[in-house]
Subunit: 232 residues, 2 copies
C-alpha cells in the first residue's frame, strides 16, 4: 500500500485537535516503511482568530487568515485539504470558493459514514461548540439525511460542553473534561439519541466509541480515514 | 504566555515521530487558549528517501528532498526549523548551509541538556539507528563534552534496536518494540551507562524517563522545549 497524494491540513483550531488528527493519519495508514505514508503538510496556525467569537459575537473574522493558510498549502502542492475542526467548517464554502483544490467537509463525511454504517439511526446527539450548534452546521446536514439532531440544553451546553472543550484546549486530556463530556452525552441518550457525534475535534480526546451504550462517531477519525482513502 | 514566533518542522522521518513531536509542542506549551500557542508549520514528508540506507549503503540521496522542504517552510515564513529525527542530522550542516533561517540541532540540544541537568554523567548509553551510530552523530558531540558514549553490541543493535525501530515505524506503539528497546537499554546500564539517550525519535514512544534505574533523555522532548523557549 502506498499513498501517493499529498494531504494538506488547515490546522491549529485547536492545536491539540490537529496533533490528534496527525496521530490518526499515521496510525490508520497501512504502511511498512516511512515512504509508504502520504506526505502531509500541516499549517497548525494557532493564530487564526477565534471562530466561535466570530460566529456568535461578530468578533475578528478568521477567514482571511484561514485563506492565507489555504494558499500556503496549495504551494506545497497539496492534492486536497482537510480541516480537523468542526466549527471552522462554518467558513467551508467561502474557503472552497477561493481554493484551487478540493476541501473535504468533515460534517458531510461524518453524516455519510453514519447513514452507511448505522442506517437505523434516526436521532443523533451532538456534542459541539455553541458556534457549531447555532450555525446549524451539523443539524442542517443531518436534516437533509432525514436524521433528527439533538443537543444538550443551554445549561449543560455552557457548564459541561463549553467548559470541557475549554479545558481540553488549555491542557489536553483531563479527567474533569472527560467527566463533563460524559454527563452531556448521557443526557442526550436519555432523550433518545441512538448515536453520539463527538462534534468538536477536541471531544474525541475524552470520548471514544465503546464508552457509551450507543455508538460514538469521531468526525476527526472519519476525516482521517477518508483522507487516506483519497491519498491512495 | 504567548508564543509569537513560527516554528518550522521538517518532518516525516518518520511520520510517527513527527506526530509525537507535534503532540509534545502542544502539551508543553503554556497556553490558555488556541491563540497563545505558536504557529507550527510541518512538512511531514514521508517521501524523503531513507536516511540510513543513504548513509550506510550509498542509497538515494535524501538531501535534495529535504532541502525542498526547508525552502517550502521558509515561505511560511518560519523563524527557525527543527527536525524531529536524529539520523537526519547527518545532513544538518548541508541543510543549514542552504537555509536562510536557523536549524536547531537535536543532538547538541540533548547533550547540552545532559551536561546542565546531570553533570555527574560521564558515560551515556545511546539507543539509535545504525546510521546515527556509524556516523558518530551522537558520540562526536558527547566526546567534545567529555562524555563517553556507549552503544549496544552488534547483535543487540540488529536484533533489538533496529527491529524495534522498524516495528514502531510500521505500527506505532507495540509491546514487542518496547520489550526489545528495554533489553538494549538494560545491556547499556550493565556496562556502566549512567543515563540513556533515546537517540532515535521513534524510541521515546516506547521508553520514558522513570522506566529505568538511570535517567532517560528524550531528544524529541528536549527539542520541543527548546523550540518553545525560542518561540516566546
Amino acid at each position: 500500500m502506498e499513498y501517493k497524494k499529498t494531504i494538506g491540513v488547515l490546522g491549529g483550531m485547536g492545536p491539540a485537535a490537529t496533533a490528534d488528527f496527525l496521530g490518526k493519519l499515521v496510525k490508520f495508514a497501512q504502511a511498512e516503511k516511512d515512504q509508504d505514508h502520504p506526505r502531509v503538510v500541516i499549517d497548525c496556525n494557532a493564530k487564526i482568530p477565534d471562530r466561535i467569537v466570530s460566529i456568535l459575537d461578530n468578533g475578528p473574522d478568521p477567514l482571511s487568515t484561514m485563506l492565507r493558510s489555504v494558499k500556503y498549502l496549495e504551494i506545497a502542492p497539496v492534492d486536497y485539504i482537510v480541516i480537523p475542526c468542526v466549527t471552522a467548517h462554518y467558513f467551508h464554502s467561502q474557503l472552497q470558493a477561493n481554493a484551487s483544490v478540493p476541501i473535504l467537509h468533515i460534517v458531510r463525511e461524518t453524516v455519510s459514514f453514519l447513514t452507511d454504517r448505522y442506517p437505523h439511526v434516526k436521532k443523533v446527539g451532538t456534542i459541539a461548540t455553541l458556534g457549531t450548534i447555532k450555525s446549524g452546521l451539523i443539524s442542517d446536514i443531518c436534516d437533509a439525511a432525514g436524521i433528527n439532531c439533538i443537543v444538550p440544553d443551554d445549561v449543560l451546553q455552557a457548564s459541561a460542553v463549553a467548559e470541557a472543550i475549554h479545558q481540553i484546549k488549555m491542557s489536553g486530556l483531563c479527567p474533569t473534561a472527560k467527566h463533563l463530556v460524559h454527563i452531556a452525552a448521557e443526557s442526550l441518550i436519555a432523550k433518545g439519541a441512538q448515536a453520539i457525534i463527538a462534534g468538536c475535534t477536541e471531544v474525541p480526546l475524552v470520548l471514544s466509541d465503546g464508552d457509551l451504550s450507543v455508538p460514538v462517531l469521531d468526525p476527526s477519525a472519519i476525516l482521517a480515514q477518508q483522507a487516506l482513502r483519497m491519498a491512495l
